[in-house]
Amino acid sequence: MRVINFLSDMIMPLVVAYILFYGAGKKIKIYDCFVEGVQKGFKTVLEIMPTLIGLMMAVGVMHHSGLLEIISTAVSPLCDRVGFPAAAVPLTIMRLVSSSAATGLLLDIFKQYSPDSFIGRFVSVMMCCTETVFYTISVYFMSIKATKTRYTLAGALIANAAGTVASLMICRFLWGG
């Protein structure tokens, strides 16, 4: 437990220190490079913003109309049996389909339960170890016009399911609930 917390605190500073050290060793203008990279980040965020507005709004409609609650209530008997947080079900499914839609649902959970609640921590970890499988498959295979993707989906879903189950177990272990 302490090792994991230690890891969480150490990894970012260490990565940053290593990058700076390496860059300085190569005698490149590290600060200029940093600023240039920040500009790239700005561009990325500005590109994300329109989709985030669209999808957070759509999630807002689903939330305020009570639709999300109805879905959670409907699946909760099954979820309780396997110990899965019912409110995380829409996000867990949407995570495989669209990154921005998943972000909208994630932020909805943060807002409603706080990121420091059990479900808030669980969805944070789950988002780290899963991928937008359906989107990625369609983009990559479309680029080479392959329509028969064979066992790709099965393999990817198994990996993502393993990650989701692992997230739940690790969160239980670390934070209880």
Binding site: I11, I19, I28, G41, C128, C129, S143, G163
Partner: protein, 196 residues
Amino acid sequence: MLNFLWAGFILLGILTAAFTGKMHAVTVGMAESAKEAVSVCITMLGVLSMWTGFMNIADKSGLTEKMTKAMLPLLKRLFPDIPKDDKAFEYIGSNITANILGLGWAATPAGIYAMQALDRLNRFRDEASDMMCDFMIFNMSSLQIISINIIAYRSRYNSANPSEIIGAGLIATAVSTAASVIFIFLRRAAVGGKRK
């Protein structure tokens, strides 16, 4: 697909609101959510851009290239059917490095080049080869070591410790990636010599 999803979300929500009598809440919620998206992006501007700044140093100093090269022996074991000197390894390497560092926009182009290189080795036109499927499964097992977006979102919603999930995320990511590697090797063993 997203077009239908998006419209479906909103229409289903409005329909539900009509039955639950929450039309007013939806009206207010719609505007609130759109406003909130912008405030989330402002937090993101700071946190994500800081990260891309550091990553640009890694890129310009040749560190990402070094990482890609260091990964090659491992990749050759994971994808033994790709000819040793094929360009595909270079693209797969940079795709995976970009994924590990959380540089989604750099990962996608490299991944598409990798698929095109694998396509040149493929005997079938519209059917994916084993190499493609294996690469895709590994790629989608999530490889990112630090999910900077999640940390930014957590800090926007006032988490007391936004980065506390890094360690847990790392372990969960290792599990999903291990599952993908096990799947790849088991399937390969199951079909034996019959490869596409």
